[in-house]
């Protein structure tokens, strides 16, 4: 039987003071009884979504429904939802019993009933007999359990957990992960869990929602997310991966890293692609027998396997193998066709809607897009036009009105460049993310006005570096808007 939807987010947007957008148009359905994890790096908006479901933040626009009813205007105390807070937020002036009984007292549950329920909740979290203890005398792990007990004692339809394990040490975290999962099975209620730890998300959830930049990148089972990442961000964020730029060479055949690979994904010949290969899916074979041949540069033992880096020409491949290879060894690398995951290249990268300005006989044709205002060669836009008397005219000599004409401006990431020198480029911004793509890094630079520029570069820059983006005039391509 198909489970019914308990919570649905419809076109939910959240921005502060009308300009900083933290959540961009999110649609998400959560089924009854599911264990859903919102996963993403810090600042991706996952906590904001949780807070909107809990009622601590209200969406700027859009709806949040619970059992089909819009709950977005309801205050937290009118929602059948409870939260386990990141730092537990237990009341220091109350003992364990009174903390757990707080919600029941608000609902005016009888004393006998309250006592019974608190006792049960304490048993569920394995802290029976702790009623009289002071909060300050409890360890972090125990406080965590009390926070869970305080939430579940109210029998909420949905339990929200905001990075509840982040303050615990590694061993305790592992234990609590299992316990939370068992608790979820036992209670049968919907859990919405927020974390930045991908391993935690993959271990615990029925469904993972990967988020970045206030938008959902992918929704799926942990297996889907790992094996079939929807884009380069997900591939890079979840687990280790080798990512290469390439093109489809033929039906079921891709070209990347200077070699041809059989693959199972269907894309038209010539499509630009990103190929994702998990390090554990690369087999080390005899030299000449695989698709790639290379030299081992390093091999580090990680307990159950070696993290081995193999340099194949310009490209580097990370391989997880149980074989020990010493640096310098020449090996072949083989990847099974169904272990190559092909993602069509995002065609919106570095595409901007722009506008033409007036033509200037000396400087050229004025173009404005994103944060950029430059003069370009008019031939880029009007290949057949001529200059006559300082004016731009078409073949039959009529003047071309360029001002206000809408265009699409784009450039290839490999044509762009970055510099520390502010004045060198045409716009400055901050590096918000970067991936290693086989033989180079792909950087996303975000300007103050929130425009993204993707630049390929061989050298390693740091996250959050402020850089100047250089786009050579010649590499800028301009098309009329359709």
């Amino acid at each position: 039987m198909e489970k019914d939807t308990i919570i649905e987010l419809k076109d939910v947007k959240k921005s502060y003071d009308g300009n900083t957008t933290v959540i961009e148009n999110i649609n998400l359905e959560i089924k009854r009884g599911e264990f859903v994890t919102l996963l993403g790096p810090s600042g991706c908006g996952k906590t904001t979504i949780l807070r909107m479901i809990g009622g601590f933040d209200t969406p700027t626009s859009g709806q949040i429904t619970l059992n089909g009813r819009d709950i977005s205007p309801l205050p937290p105390y009118e929602r059948p939802i409870n939260t386990v807070f990141q730092k537990y937020a237990l009341f220091p002036h109350l003992n364990v019993y009174d903390n757990i009984a707080f919600g029941l007292k608000m609902k005016k549950v009888s004393k006998a009933e309250t006592e019974k329920k608190v006792k049960e909740a304490l048993e569920i979290v394995d802290l029976a007999g702790f009623e009289k203890r002071d909060i300050q005398t409890l360890s972090g792990g125990q406080q965590q359990r009390i926070a869970i007990a305080r939430a579940i004692v109210n029998e909420p339809q949905v339990l929200l957990l905001d990075e509840p394990l982040s303050a615990l040490d590694y061993k305790m975290r592992k234990e609590m992960q299992l316990e939370l999962k068992n608790m979820h099975k036992k209670l049968g209620i919907t859990f919405i869990f927020v974390t930045h730890d991908q391993e935690e998300a993959l271990t615990m959830s029925d469904k993972v929602v990967v988020m970045a930049d206030g938008a959902i990148q992918q929704v799926g089972t942990p297996e889907d997310i790992y094996n079939e990442p929807a884009n380069v961000f997900v591939a890079d964020f979840i687990g280790e991966s080798n990512i290469f730029n390439g093109t489809m060479a033929a039906f079921h055949q891709a070209r990347f890293a200077d070699a041809l690979f059989e693959c199972v994904d269907d894309f038209e010949k010539g499509t630009k692609i990103d190929a994702v290969i998990r390090p554990e899916d690369v087999e080390i074979v005899e030299k000449g027998k695989g698709q790639l041949t290379g030299t081992v540069t390093s091999a580090d033992f990680k307990g159950t396997f070696y993290v081995t880096f193999v340099q194949c020409g310009d490209f580097e491949m990370e391989v997880h193998t149980t074989k020990h290879l010493s640096a310098g060894a020449e090996v072949g690398l083989f990847v099974e066709p169904d272990n190559i995951h092909i993602i069509p290249y995002d065609n919106t990268i570095n595409h901007y809607v722009g506008e033409l300005g007036a033509f200037d006989a000396e400087k050229g044709l004025f173009v404005r897009f994103a944060d950029v205002e430059i003069y370009v060669d008019y031939k880029k836009v009007y290949p057949e036009a001529k200059v006559s008397d300082g004016k731009l005219v078409d073949k039959s000599g009529n003047e071309i009105v360029t001002e206000g004409v809408n265009v699409v401006v784009y450039f290839n990431p490999e044509d762009g460049d970055m510099s520390d020198n502010k004045d060198e480029g045409i716009v400055t911004g901050q590096i918000v993310s970067f991936y290693y793509i086989g033989d180079h890094y792909s950087y996303t630079i975000r300007s103050k006005s929130e425009n993204d520029y993707v630049i390929d570069d061989d050298s390693l820059w740091n996250q959050d570096d402020i850089v100047s983006v250089i786009i050579p005039k010649d590499s800028i391509k301009i098309q009329f808007m359709k």
Partner: protein, 263 residues
């Protein structure tokens, strides 16, 4: 190691000297004068006389009534103000706080004089309501001293406490009474201590609003003006005991609150 320890201790010497000369020594002098007669013999006579005389006990009660009323009114006004200042969601919080605290920067006789003028306009003649005017002027005078500790205490209160309370089904009022007030008791106590003692002793306010009834401060003043160091010191010592008692009781209460309430 040894030398560095010595140097650290040496840093405390100025403070220790200050304490000895300006706190401990004066206290000893007060106690000495309070419990000796004019010839320097130890005696409880002053102490017993204070409680035997209807006039002095009446002054004590009158001072207590004023102090309790002023403190209570200050608390009732200051708590909501401090709550809105600390927890409200608006820009320029500190500018608003400044508006309430700014009077502290103005000389207090000037403030009271200004308040007198306002009250004269409203009441016609100040002499008709000496008690009420005393309360009004004292509340006006001491309010910032109540707001500051409450504001600090409320600012420190983690918002997640309020959210947890709302999450568990408490509406705004329930959250205030079940979570916010219990957790800001230290601020409430220090606010009360800041206001209560000055309200018992600040007789200048009474003089200024033509309230001729004595309070504890006026008693001390009048004895000292008459060079009766013994009785003046004794009353100071009695006030000191009141404050000591109050501090002990409230500390006990706070310890009880923070140690988790028993069922």
């Amino acid at each position: 190691m040894k030398t560095s320890n010595f140097e650290r201790k040496a840093l405390a010497i100025p403070y220790a000297l200050f304490m000895v000369f300006f706190v401990i020594f004066p206290l000893l002098v007060i106690l000495y004068y309070g419990f000796t007669d004019g010839e320097g013999h130890v005696s409880l006579e002053n102490f017993l006389n204070f409680f035997r005389s209807a006039k002095t006990v009446g002054t004590l009660i009158y001072s207590l009534v004023i102090a309790v009323m002023v403190t209570a009114i200050c608390l009732l006004i200051a708590y909501p103000v401090a709550y809105i200042l600390a927890k409200g969601e608006y820009a320029r919080k500190h500018a608003f706080l400044m508006v309430f605290v700014l009077p502290m920067w103005i000389n207090f006789t000037l403030r009271i004089t200004a308040m007198k003028e306002i009250l004269t306009v409203l009441e016609g003649n100040l002499a008709y309501h000496p008690f009420m005017n005393t309360i009004i002027c004292m509340v006006y005078d001491f309010l910032p001293f109540m707001i500051m500790p409450l504001f600090n205490s409320l600012t420190k209160l983690d918002n997640s406490m309020l959210e947890a309370s709302a999450d568990l089904g408490a509406n705004k009022w329930q959250t205030i009474f079940k979570v916010v007030i219990p957790l800001t008791i230290p601020g409430i106590v220090s606010g009360i201590t800041m206001v209560f003692l000055p309200a018992m002793t600040n007789y200048v306010v009474l003089d200024m609003v033509y309230n001729s009834t004595y309070i504890m401060g006026s008693l001390i003043g009048s004895y000292f003006n008459a060079y009766d160091w013994n009785n003046g010191s004794l009353i100071s010592a009695i006030l000191l005991m009141f404050i000591g008692l109050f501090t002990i009781i409230t500390n006990h209460l706070i310890a009880g609150e923070e140690g988790g309430r028993r069922r």
